[in-house]
């Protein structure tokens, strides 16, 4: 070939336009080959048939008004939904045997939970740290007080006193260390803070003796955490330091205010509603939310332990994961409900036992999902972190886990969805969740008839589908968001 040298640059051009985009779409994507055309038609007709059957059942043939089985007698023959049955049982399906005049408490917990959760789920939300503290730290306490009942302020006081002691001890430990090391001006400041911490500690402990021995044990545990924390102080910008100090001060003020008026504090109490009366969708949500929220930290700890270089820790983690994964959830629920009390002097409440069982079960699955993500992180990331002087917890918390968890979002959400539906198994240990409540409702002689079975299962199916679809849509949104941030 002869030498070629370009004389003029070729200008950038638009891609060619088609005369009929619809025709092109039909030709290329729908009817490209006979097999594809047949497949499209078959799929469409099948989908239409199913959708039509569903519409027929839920709307066209359905009965909408009435108050007993007589109203639904005709749909027993022609296959239609018996909505008056659902309407009549709705309270029971949503709240179980939770007293009607106390259901506002459940609704209030829903409302507060949503108000906290929705901004937290937004990918670019601000104040995520504060929202997280509120949702994962304060909200469970709030929900417990409201849903279970009993003295309204006492649990807050307890948690508050614990927290004050904790903060004071942290401050004390950190500044006791600083006194030896820093220049004089800082020594004075550190000394002042040590005195302040001791005062806070005394105040905190002065509130604490009001409580039982279990709380003292709590303090001992917190002391242990503290030694670890003092070694590994997180850094903060000035503005954030003040935001956090403000938060702590407000909390301490709240607790101190409560303790000053202890007589008043002891007074207001909500009617106690034992968990045996909880039920319906409400208990499904309690079990699923607890399981979902608890499974992630349990899973992370187990996954890290399983990859640990310490042989005993690794073996224990492997043993735990394999045993819990190797038995059906029902077995675990039976064990935690009926056998656990035999080993303990003061067995926890029945629902708490179920929550522990579900959390451990979900945690073991989560551990394997997260371990998959951990294995995908290249060795170079660990080496880069090590060469910068980052320790184990910093490497894991800042570098490895954030990447690993992003990689396994689909698996994590898959596990959440599975768990949400697995909660129906709690009915075998006499907890009437949504499905259990529905089956109880079927036994009502005022409504018995075949149509209420179809209607009931269709209704519960729609609710479960709604929740699971929301979760899966959200996970797709998150994946999309995280991907956009990463590549060009």
């Amino acid at each position: 070939m002869e030498t070629y040298v370009q004389s003029h640059p070729i200008p950038v051009a638009q891609p060619p336009k088609h005369a009929s985009p619809l025709g092109r779409w039909l030709r290329h994507e729908i009817l490209a080959s006979p097999i594809q055309a047949v497949g499209t038609l078959l799929g469409l007709s099948l989908a239409l048939t199913l959708i039509w059957a569903l519409v027929d059942f839920t709307i066209v043939n359905a009965v909408w008004t009435g108050s007993n089985r007589a109203a639904c007698a005709m749909v027993d023959q022609q296959l239609g939904a018996c909505w008056p049955f659902i309407k009549d049982k709705l309270g029971q399906l949503m709240y179980g045997f939770y007293p009607a005049d106390a259901r506002w408490r459940v609704n209030l917990v829903y409302a507060v939970g949503l108000v906290l959760l929705i901004p937290l789920l937004h990918p670019r939300a601000r104040y995520k740290l504060h929202l997280s503290i509120a949702f994962f730290g304060l909200f469970p306490l709030f929900a417990y007080v409201l849903l279970y009942g009993g003295p309204v302020f006492r649990p807050w006081l307890r948690a508050g006193a614990t927290l004050v002691c904790f903060l004071a001890l942290t401050c004390l430990a950190v500044h006791l260390k600083l006194i030896n090391e820093q220049p004089f001006a800082r020594q004075v400041r550190a000394f002042g803070l040590v005195v302040a911490s001791i005062v806070a500690l005394v105040v905190g402990l002065a509130i604490a003796p009001v409580f039982e021995v279990a709380d003292r044990l709590n303090f001992a545990l917190l002391l242990l955490c503290l030694v670890a924390l003092a070694e590994n102080r997180s850094p903060r910008g000035e503005d954030r330091v003040w935001a956090e100090r403000g938060f702590c001060l407000a909390w301490a003020g709240f607790v101190l205010g409560l303790s000053c008026g202890f007589d008043i504090v002891a007074q207001p109490a909500l009617q106690i509603i034992p968990t045996s009366q909880w039920g319906g969708l409400f208990v499904t949500l309690v079990v699923a939310t607890t399981g979902i929220v608890a499974s992630v930290p349990i899973g992370i700890v187990l996954a890290l332990a399983r990859r640990s270089s310490a042989p005993i820790i690794r073996t224990l983690a492997i043993g735990f994961i394999e045993i819990v994964r190797g038995v059906p959830l029902i077995t675990i629920l039976f064990f935690s409900t009926y056998m656990l009390p035999l080993f303990l002097d003061q067995p926890p409440d029945g629902l708490v036992r179920v929550l522990i069982g579900v959390s451990l079960f979900a945690g073991a699955y989560m551990a394997e999902i997260i371990r998959g993500g951990l294995q995908a992180i290249p060795k170079g990331q660990y080496e880069a972190a090590a060469s910068l002087g980052l320790g184990y917890s910093q490497t894991m918390g800042l570098i490895v886990l954030p990447q690993a968890i992003r990689l396994v979002i689909p698996g994590v959400v898959n596990s959440f969805i599975g768990l949400f539906k697995d909660t129906t198994l709690v009915s075998v240990v006499s907890i009437f969740d949504l499905l259990g409540g529905m089956r109880a409702a079927f036994t009502d002689p005022a409504w018995s008839g075949p149509s209420i079975l179809y209607t009931g299962f269709a209704f519960t199916g729609m609710i479960y589908f709604g929740f699971c679809y929301l979760m899966s849509s959200y996970s797709r949104l998150m994946e999309e968001h995280l991907r956009v941030d990463h590549r060009t």
Partner: protein, 256 residues
């Protein structure tokens, strides 16, 4: 206790790295055989040799990414032992640049640079960002601060990696084949950054096959083969008249 670097006697000690009788095995494979090296402050070493000769393993031993089994390694007055405190002290003083950059892909460039100063040196975020921007300007990509590593070219990523190490104000920089994973057009921008670092008086150990760079920057060229140091000489002597047979062969292979 006073830290070793602050005592005047030790500051006067010109030795940056001292390796005495260092031996290392991978299983039964003897990968470092009795390595002895003394590197004074501000010296620039280029380490070369055929693949599998132990170049990378040697410099990875200096900041404890690989543990040596026999011998002594002293870095800036601190002896490298299994004690994690010592290892971390050395790692704070020693920066490292990798062949595949190893940037943190989930963090922006700026976050990559500020992470270690904030979490390891406990600087405030504002100070750390100021230092980060200083070094980003120094490697001439301050405008990329808020991008993610995946959005940069290989050469830019490697320059970010160099800046990330510099943010910890290390006394010694280790380079493990920093240009071998780059497109040919990007090699120069990274080498330029390294040359300007050398001009500033940084102690540098570079495993590289960039012989032009070695001629221009190196005070000493270390040639390794089968885990042994077989020749150490100035660049003029090494490239002009290599003494060892293996070095002669190596140079004849790479310089056509």
């Amino acid at each position: 206790m006073l830290t070793a670097q602050n005592t005047p006697e030790l500051m006067a000690d010109p030795m940056a790295i001292r390796m005495v009788g260092v031996n290392k095995w991978f299983g039964a494979l003897h990968v470092l055989r009795d390595v002895n090296l003394e590197i004074t402050r501000g010296q620039k070493l280029v380490i070369c040799g055929p693949s599998g000769s132990g170049k990378s393993t040697m410099i990875r031993c200096i900041n404890g990414l690989e543990a040596h089994q026999e011998g002594t390694i002293v870095v800036e007055g601190t002896e490298l032992t299994e004690d994690l405190k010592k290892v971390n002290e050395i790692r704070r003083n020693v920066g490292m640049v990798f062949q595949h950059f190893n940037l943190f892909p989930h963090l922006t460039v700026l976050e990559n640079l500020t992470l270690a100063p904030v979490w390891v040196k406990k600087l405030s975020r504002r100070d750390a960002e100021e230092i980060a921007m200083h070094y980003l300007s120094k490697v001439r990509i301050p405008e990329q601060a808020n991008k993610y590593p995946g959005q940069l070219s290989g050469g830019q990523q490697q320059r970010v990696a160099i800046a990330r190490s510099l943010c910890m104000s290390p006394r010694i920089m280790l380079f493990d084949e920093p240009t071998s994973a780059l497109d040919p057009e990007m090699v120069k921008e990274v080498l330029d950054t390294m040359i300007s670092l050398a001009t500033d008086g940084m102690t540098m150990l570079c495993v590289t096959h960039e012989m032009g760079f070695a001629r221009q920057v190196a005070d000493l060229v270390v040639f390794m083969d089968h885990g042994q140091v077989v020749e150490v000489s100035g660049p003029e002597a090494f490239f002009g008249s290599p003494k060892h047979e293996r070095a002669k062969l190596f140079l004849s292979q790479i310089l056509h």
